[in-house]
Chain length 157, copies 2
């Protein structure tokens, strides 16, 4: 098996877990490795499937453990829990400012894609100060038809 390189997030997460007193369980390790490779949010079910089927996956992990570990990671702010899609939680590694992004959701195929925009970010920060809430996080979701689905519609004529 090829030794794969980890990102900064993986190292930070490993350390944080250790500092928080968690042991080096195999399931937890497998989840960290997987989350580290994901560009956008994925659901617990997707994580389970990926770990089960991907050849390079470290091992399979039971669904209960997936939820438990994700909850631990969320409590340490190592993953962010999103509500996007089908009334299902999705999770993604909480990376630094540079990787901060929002989400595009295709209404037709359910595809989820990240996007980022600096001006929008500034606007959100400004709005956050004018609102009766001590804002800790924000989240923007744009819904519509993705290019793939738009193309398909075109081809079907």
């Amino acid at each position: 098996m090829v030794e794969s390189k980890h990102t900064e997030w993986y190292d930070r997460a490993s350390r944080a877990l250790q500092d928080a007193g968690y042991r080096r369980g195999g399931a937890r390790h497998a989840l960290l490795e997987l989350l580290d490779t994901q560009a956008c949010a994925c659901s617990a079910i997707e994580i389970e499937e990926t770990l089960r089927h991907r050849s390079h996956a470290t091992r399979t992990v039971s669904r209960a453990s997936i939820y438990r570990i994700l909850a631990e990671l969320e409590a340490l702010s190592l993953v962010t829990k999103l509500e996007v899609g089908q009334a299902t939680w999705r999770f993604e590694a909480t990376r630094g400012g540079k990787h901060h992004h929002h989400h595009l959701v295709c209404d037709r195929c359910g595809r989820l894609m990240p996007f980022a925009d600096e001006a929008l970010e500034r606007e959100l920060v400004r709005v956050s100060t004018r609102v009766p809430l001590a804002v800790a996080e924000h989240e923007v979701i744009l819904r519509g038809a993705c290019e793939r689905c738009t193309d398909d519609a075109y081809k079907s004529f």
Copy 2:
């Protein structure tokens, strides 16, 4: 029972349902009346409770019907389905431009409040054109601690 005034939304929704060939069922009517009075999104369960307990509620409606009717209304763009809170759908009447708003969610008590901001809206429209998706809707959620919860924290010292 006092005859209550309906908003433009109620009339538009009634007409749209009729045009779409739906009959004037009692459950559907009760739901329209209720949704018409709500300032912000509510869940199917909340709707059921409200219809059951409120004195001015027209009648009770079974949960299955609530979901079915909400799905019809959503298909006609008469309500908007949101994912805010506990992996639960919430629904609110789709009103004209003036009532367009986004949501503040309190992480501590779960309270949901609407907010609106014109500059943010313009920014969202701009961003929508620069993204690989034919954007049909957008949604912004700000999470944090509401004033009530912040006050409580203060008082507890």
